[in-house]
């Protein structure tokens, strides 16, 4: 004082390594094992192909509404690739490829998208939460998980995903503030795909970037090219290292694009232009990564074709298995399971009511 410009202590950066054409910035290129690079590529392709297949199934009425991920593969796969298996992942609902990376089966995804509660329990358990539909509400759970991990003297971290729209919810603010105050080992990964259903990023908030929102919480923020898997991996790896070392949370904004509809119930032509879509197709995360891996001699046309075949076969098998499973799953009486650790008396009574109703119906079908 008297009249001065206030200084800002926190670090606020942007990062890009692999450009849309596949040119890499050697100075920033992360050293990643061959296997990891190829695994990332495989899961990106799997995510994209699975999306296409789910879309077809939905159009055929074989599954219900779901949120496609096409275009965002690098953003969420690059992020989870930086995690250790025992770290926590707290998803929103548009990180399907990351869930699969963390061990969720394609069958589970199909069952879930078809309204089967069983989807939650067919895979081996792990430190990944189920998808969270209420926008912005899950980040707080990552703060609690991260805090608890540190309280238990482990060096686990918690990574949570959310969209650009989610940053407008009060819960985003409370989660960021609590993580800052308690220096919880949390990585906040925003998939800024430019749209919250029909609301463009520019009308979601007046701030020029999502990353700068970190400053409100005394937290470092970084804006990365979210279609550049190397940049996402590098930025999140740094944030993970910082959190693991007890140096607190980070906000990572991945600038990407939702190439398809919000969900299959949505029609994007009502609110966005083909030109915008085209301009983003030119920035496709998979195409540029393919170029990079070819340059590194890790991929050839043949290898790519073979990998595509494997992925499609994997998806085909999953669809068949899931559709078989569904024939036997879905016992209505299971809706009373897992309401509480032990079923209270009134639920036992209600369960009996439903059992009797189903019995009567079966009998009538038998009679008539």
């Amino acid at each position: 004082m008297p009249r001065k410009t206030l200084p800002i202590e926190e670090k606020l950066e942007s990062l890009a390594i692999l450009d849309a054409k596949g040119n890499v910035d050697k100075a920033l290129e992360p050293s990643m094992p061959k296997e990891l690079l190829l695994k990332l590529y495989r899961y990106m392709v799997l995510g994209r192909c699975f999306d296409e297949r789910l879309l077809a199934l939905q159009r055929q009425g074989r599954i219900g509404t779901f949120p496609p991920i096409s275009g965002q593969e690098a953003a969420h796969l690059g992020a989870v690739a930086a995690l250790r298996e025992d770290d926590w992942m707290v998803p929103a609902f548009r990180e399907t490829a990351a869930e699969i990376w963390r061990g969720r089966s394609l069958e589970s995804v199909i069952l879930g998208n078809n309204g089967f509660n069983e989807a939650a329990s067919i895979d081996p358990p792990g430190p990944t939460l189920p998808v969270s539909v209420p926008v912005g509400s899950q980040m707080l759970h990552a703060v609690g998980l991260g805090w608890a991990a540190r309280y238990r003297k482990t060096d686990q971290v918690a990574l949570t995903f959310f969209g650009d729209g989610a940053t407008s919810e009060g819960d985003f603010h409370e989660a960021m503030n609590l993580a800052g105050v308690f220096q919880a080992p949390v990585i906040f990964v925003c998939q800024n795909n430019h749209w919250a259903i029909s609301i463009p990023r520019s009308r979601q908030t007046r701030s020029a970037t999502i990353a700068q929102k970190a400053l409100a919480y005394g937290m470092p923020g970084v804006q990365v090219d979210g279609n550049d898997v190397l940049a996402v991996y590098s930025a999140v790896s740094e944030a993970v290292a910082r959190a693991r070392a007890g140096r607190g949370p980070t906000l990572v904004e991945c600038v990407t694009y939702r190439m398809l509809m919000h969900t299959t119930a949505d029609d994007p032509r009502r609110y966005r232009s083909d030109d915008e879509l085209e301009s983003w197709k030119a920035k496709d995360p998979i195409a540029r990564f393919e170029v990079y891996l070819k340059h590194k001699k890790l991929l050839t046309r043949k290898k790519i074709e073979a990998l595509n075949q494997e992925v499609l076969a994997q998806i085909q098998t999953a669809v068949e298995q899931a559709e078989n499973q569904m024939k036997t799953l879905g016992n209505p009486l299971d809706m009373f399971a897992h309401a509480y650790a032990q079923m209270p008396p009134h639920l036992r009574v209600q369960r009996e009511e439903l059992a009797a109703e189903i019995g009567r119906a079966a009998k009538e079908d038998g009679d008539g």
Binding site: G115, I199, A339
Partner: protein, 327 residues
């Protein structure tokens, strides 16, 4: 008169009220350019412009809280919660302020806002998109809780809600949104808030219900008439808070047999209040215990099971028969 779906009828109500009163503004997530995820606000932004149809950022508390401020200024905001399952994010604004400002200011201020939200199951939706928790609002003094059951009454009640001097929570049965069409007059039509109607006359049995459950209940009533020769009287509450018990208490005195049907969870649900009012107003006329046919006291299951959760004509008819067999 044109035949309209409930979505079209609600859209008509909004268009006409916005035309009639430039104090009526619409706000919410995707209500503008997209026309609302169910298209209830379709075309409004083209017709009335961005200054009266606000595409807001996410944040239900923000939407409700900003609407409260608009209403305090004298506007009549109609804000949308994209799904009733996300209205809890705004619940504190409704309880802390919308419901209280008239009282807090001793009548100087008022909050003539409408909080619209699609509620209920039956459309194969995702988690949180199918609940029916009108009780939270109905139990909150200072709020009104309205639940239309068909295109025509939805239109008339929304008009009344917009003109109401107090905050109205308006739950729209999304299962009915496009389920059928009904004649809806072009000319203005209102319905008094707080006034139930007889949806079907009968002398043997009274079924009290509202919202999306009115259709399955009427179907059950037809079945009972056809198969059992039982004449069920069906009361459509339309408003559950303030709850006017005169009509259903009178019906109960007439039939002596009463059933309440809703898709909300049973315990501490709306049916409990109806039962209590009947005990207070018609106890000596009740020949058998009042039956509650409702959703179960569990989280609404994902959609593969939802049809077993929701009351359906078969369940209602079976319960009615048990009731009548009892005496």
């Amino acid at each position: 008169m044109a035949k309209m779906t409930m979505v079209q009828a609600l859209n008509l109500a909004l268009r006409q009220e916005m035309t009639r009163d430039d104090g009526v503004v619409v706000l919410g997530e995707d209500v503008g350019v997209d026309g609302g995820v169910f298209r209830v606000t379709d075309g409004l932004i083209e017709h009335f412009g961005e200054e009266r149809v606000l595409d807001t950022p996410l944040g239900e508390s923000g939407i409700a809280g900003m609407a409260i401020g608009m209403a305090l200024y004298g506007l009549r905001p109609v804000c949308e919660m994209q799904f009733a399952g996300f209205s809890y994010q705004a619940f504190h604004q409704m309880e802390n302020h919308a419901a209280r400002l008239r009282w807090r200011s001793q009548g100087r201020l008022s909050v003539p806002m409408v909080l619209r939200a699609p509620y209920g199951g039956g459309v194969r939706a995702l988690e949180h998109h199918s609940e029916s928790r009108e009780t939270y609002f109905a139990h909150t003094p200072g709020l009104k809780m309205v639940l239309p059951s068909g295109p025509r009454n939805a239109r008339a009640l929304l008009v009344s809600a917009i003109r109401d001097p107090d905050p109205v929570v308006f739950f729209e049965p999304k299962a009915v949104y496009r389920a059928y069409r009904e004649e809806v007059p072009e000319e203005e039509e209102t319905l008094p808030i707080g006034q139930p109607v007889i949806a079907r006359e009968g002398r043997d049995l009274t079924i009290v219900t509202y919202g999306a459950m009115v259709r399955p209940v009427l179907a059950a009533a037809e079945e009972l008439q056809a198969k059992d020769g039982v004449a069920a009287e069906v009361i459509d509450l339309l408003t559950i808070a303030p709850l006017d018990d005169a009509l259903f208490a009178a019906s109960a005195r007439k039939t002596g047999h009463v059933m309440v049907v809703h898709e909300a969870p049973r315990s501490f649900g709306p049916g409990a209040e109806i039962v209590s009012r009947l005990v207070e107003k018609a106890f000596y006329f009740l020949e058998v215990p009042i039956a509650r046919v409702t959703g179960y006291d569990v989280v609404m299951p994902l959609f593969s099971r939802e049809q077993h959760y929701l009351p359906h004509p078969g369940r209602v008819a079976a319960a009615a028969r048990r009731l009548l067999e009892e005496g």
